[in-house]
Assembly symmetry: D2
Homo-oligomer: 367 residues x 4
């Protein structure tokens, strides 16, 4: 059992999730590398210290460089706002330290391009934090499609919808400005990543992006509330994606429906332990969508529980990420999804924004 010193940047929503994951992952997955919670960084000394005590780190700081440079910190998890991702990652790579970075990869396509370049130049392990695709159900969906269980895919519909800004009276905050914090910047990447994982590269997009509530108490809104895009995959499949932070009633609407020539798959993250599969075989009278409950027969489930249908949750997705990151670090071999994959997502976001602006189909390869 070899220890590895972990430094986490950010102690908020995701900083906590990764801290818990690093505390639990060894016991869950019996990993070769065992995380040692070395240092946590937040924007003030007080909050950093509070997080340290709460999550069980050895040390705290409000200076990210200090953390990155600390010799006991051997691997970096970036869970700070998108604007900070690039600088931190570049510094870590310069020191040859492996980096896990939360989605979206940087605040812009320029950021993510630079981050990929830095990662490749350094030749260090890097990973982007797309956790939802980690559920046993979605991993299994990916496997089913790859194995041809639903034949040739003809149609993909995906959405990432939540309702935290559904109320027009919800006040303006930092979330309501900055393209990286709008719906395209913040929510879309998860589902775009899923689309790529499940169907392969997207060739073209035609999008419509909009700010529904341009004024909110406290100020103007300068990023998007909802967006949709039609797309064409390189495989030839037709697709559509929808993203919204004003989708009243939707709490975790990461959902997809995939149609193939031999079957179909449906998934909704609000019931993340079920995958719906239709197979076009057997007598017509007994065909139907089957509700498969995840269990030990599905990827990365068994380490959480021996019983099928007992269910995994949000935090478990982060633990699965931590396992893969540690494995990549241990073997010095990247595991999917890398920074390159995070950047590919950003390219599609950029193409979609351009498409919406120009009201025309955009070739993703131009981005």
């Amino acid at each position: 059992m070899t220890q590895i010193g972990i430094g986490i940047l950010g102690g908020g929503y995701m900083g906590k999730a990764h801290s818990v994951a690093m505390a639990a992952v060894g016991a869950v997955f019996n990993t070769a590398l065992r995380p040692r919670l070395e240092m946590i960084c937040a924007s003030s000394p007080e909050s950093a210290e509070r997080y340290r005590a709460a999550y069980g780190f050895a040390r705290a700081t409000d200076d990210w460089r200090l953390l990155v440079n600390d010799p006991a910190v051997e691997a970096i998890v970036i869970a700070t706002p998108q604007e900070t991702h690039r600088e931190i990652a570049e510094a870590a790579f310069a020191l040859g330290k492996p980096v896990f970075c939360e989605k979206p990869l940087g605040a812009s396509i320029a950021d993510s391009a630079a981050m990929v370049a830095a990662a490749e130049a350094a030749g260090v392990v890097n990973m982007t934090g797309f956790n939802y695709i980690r559920t046993p159900a979605s991993q299994f969906a990916r496997q089913l499609i790859a194995e041809g269980a639903i034949g040739d895919v003809t149609w993909f519909r995906g959405e990432h919808t939540e309702d935290f800004y559904a109320d027009p009276q919800a006040p303006a905050t930092w979330r309501t400005s900055g393209m990286a914090n709008g719906t395209m910047g913040d929510l879309a990447p998860h589902m775009i990543n899923a689309a790529l994982a499940l169907l392969g590269p997207v060739a073209e997009v035609m999008a419509d992006v909009e700010t529904v509530h341009a004024k909110r108490p406290g100020g103007d809104v300068t990023n998007d509330d909802q967006a949709q895009m039609m797309c064409r995959f390189e495989s030839g499949a037709m697709g559509h994606m929808f993203f919204s932070r004003i989708a009243t009633g939707r709490k975790m609407g990461y959902a997809y429906e995939i149609t193939g020539t031999k079957g179909a798959i449906r998934f909704d993250q609000e019931d993340q332990n079920a995958l719906w599969l239709y197979e076009m075989d057997g007598p017509e009278a007994t065909r139907g969508f089957r509700k498969i409950l995840t269990g030990p027969a599905h990827p990365d489930y068994l380490p959480f529980c021996q019983g099928p249908g007992h269910g995994t949750g949000y935090q478990d997705q982060i633990i699965i990420e931590a396992k893969d990151f540690l494995e990549a670090v241990a073997t010095k071999t990247n595991k999917w999804p890398t920074f390159k994959d995070g950047h590919d997502v950003n390219r599609i976001v950029a193409a979609a924004l351009a498409s919406s602006d120009t009201k025309s189909w955009q070739d993703v390869n131009a981005f």
Copy 2:
């Protein structure tokens, strides 16, 4: 109780449905006018006679003009293929006879424009057969939105998906040629009609229409298998619609999700007796989508059953149509949806086809 002589053209899928509806509607709705099944027409004398005997008509013919001209036939139901709609309707209007015509209204926008003109010139009652919007659930959805129950609508997603051509080996037939028989021509009208009924006029569309399986055993396919369109409603709401006859696993995928600033609605025809409603009020902890089962409290349900949740079915939608048609005839006052509404649907279909061809947004008013 006044009788009215009904003539039905076509004795197939819909000809039968309308025959049964005319036999049952009086008892169900205690209508002022009572249908007398006067004559049925089909393409051969043998089939016409077979339908006559089966459905209980007095007479049969294979000549539609004979039926239309017959003095005992006082109202006409057109349930023949789209190519025949126009000529029949025009003949009936010329005689001042009210006409109910199955969707789509004619085989083209030229047809439907002419049919609207003829109806208006004659000043006779006319109705287009969009049955799915007649379910108590969808009527109630319409009422909820009109009353503002979900606030201002910001997003509409609709689909009409079935899988009768999902199997690439299903042979080519008349259904696989002729734009009026493809997915846009044949399935899309139902959901476009729903969109108009629920949200009002569509201003602009941007579509992608495709033939997935261009060759089938028996010949080439010359119409579309699936199609999608982004749209903008005149109200400002953003929308998306998807249509498919190759949606493996989908049997009656007439489904919509509508988001508003105060709530949301979901419906899927595969469970046509339930409407899902989310209301953004009350404590956060008890909010959720409510599965409302239709019952006597909902439009046009009580005549079918006194018990809530006991359910109506496909045939009942046609009975509701017959009730409205008879009422329109009795009062000589059109009821929604008229030929004009059927034509408005065709205009959107035409705009969508043009959009897909030109890969550009199309203003619906130009069609």
Copy 3:
């Protein structure tokens, strides 16, 4: 096409349903015998005349004997309260006229025993009105079990739950007195009939029957609000049934779950067009309950619609009953379920009431 004169007793909830069914069944099922709506009877001349006009009967009466004796009335449908069933049926049998009688068969086990005896003595066609088991889904469930699709059945759970008396302030009416009008008398028969149809005879029962709200505005309640029973089928399977008219939130809770050694079936009448089937085969990873939508591949569906998933409703169940009744009459051969089957249900009701009174298991054969 031979006509048959139909006389219906009662013009309320079920009187109407059977009137509509008789008006529609010929066209739907192309029956050999074609109903002629000859006469309807209700408790007052005014209501009888109102029903006559509404449902399209030739004549009306408030004297059931007059209807039964009328020579133009060739088959009888009893849709009056349970207390009236026996006398009417006996009179009809005495004249050799076939009788369809709504559930429950009479107001007591004595009634139903006498009715069976009268039917057998007369050798005339007779049928009991258990409509819910007529849905394509439940017919298919029955077929699946008979074919061994789920192996040997080990467990049955059924319920018939509604909430029309859930509100303790709902007033006392005729429904709240008389054992034939309580939950055991009025609701239980449907599900007991289903249990018998699906699994075969019940050997023993152990029940608990209770009046939850003994006082209601307007008077005392003298029959039961809810009841449960454990049972043992002759096949050896264990079972449980629950019946309630105070099941808050349940509108049409006719539902069952059946477990076998090779699979399982689930059904809920609130979504009557779906049957859930689990088959214990194929790889563990793709097993799950399959939601089968009824369609032309299932019993008695096609005559209502050519499209799968398009759905049948409550009224359609009554039309299916009418078809079977007419067929039995035409062939002078009983079809399931006969009066004998209605009486078998009553025997289990009687055994359950005795069990609840004596707090002991009761052998159904003793009733």
Copy 4:
């Protein structure tokens, strides 16, 4: 931040779950006491050492007395088979060490009675491991009922059903003998505990317990495969529970339906992040069961995730248990459910077995 040395007995299914929970709970809940994984015990030195390394304990042993007696072990978690619970707990209590013990509490009612006595004599913190009732959804259900949200409860239906022995060819193992390992001994306790938590004490039971497959490859089966019981709660509510390990298709069928005079609640552990609530108010037309997704508004959810609908899983239930146990230890004040609660469950199990044997209702207070 005070550390506490934890000793866990058993490294299998639950030993692992508790190890992970102890590793994670501090970071998740910011607990006052922070677990130090001191020692783990399993039945052989090899397996103990393997678990130690995998879960991150400091030391391992195959002698439970050594663990219990070790001065660095300050709190004990028993996750060994039921036969071992009593002896271990008694030894720990004798040393004044707090004990968390997995369900069922001991292998018999005699065991649990002794364990309660020992706990009370020692005056030490004790807790029984009923994890399923810990989900945010079930905690919220409990709260809703306590607050009167559904009025007076009139009906409870619960089940704990799985299918790990559904296949009649699954071989006999230690699980198929010993009453503590059968369905009543092993599965029933969870749902009985839920019933008590949600509705309060059970007064009387009437049960039917059976071994469906008495022979399996490898030997005779001497404990039960499925069991049902009717019950009466002290509140007057009627109830039913069903337990099965042969419930084909059911993976984690811990499910309940609770009806009250003002509303109803439904829950199924297979979709553990949703609670269904029906409230009998507002207009009839908009009533329905509401699918509430758990989120920060519900008990013990927020520490796992800031986003509603993001979901918790099986492992999280164990983390919640660990939090409550540590809190009880820190405050030297028992938290629900204690050994007494575990014993109360066993009393009902005993009453049910007696009822099934004697085929009579049994007063729970006699056990």
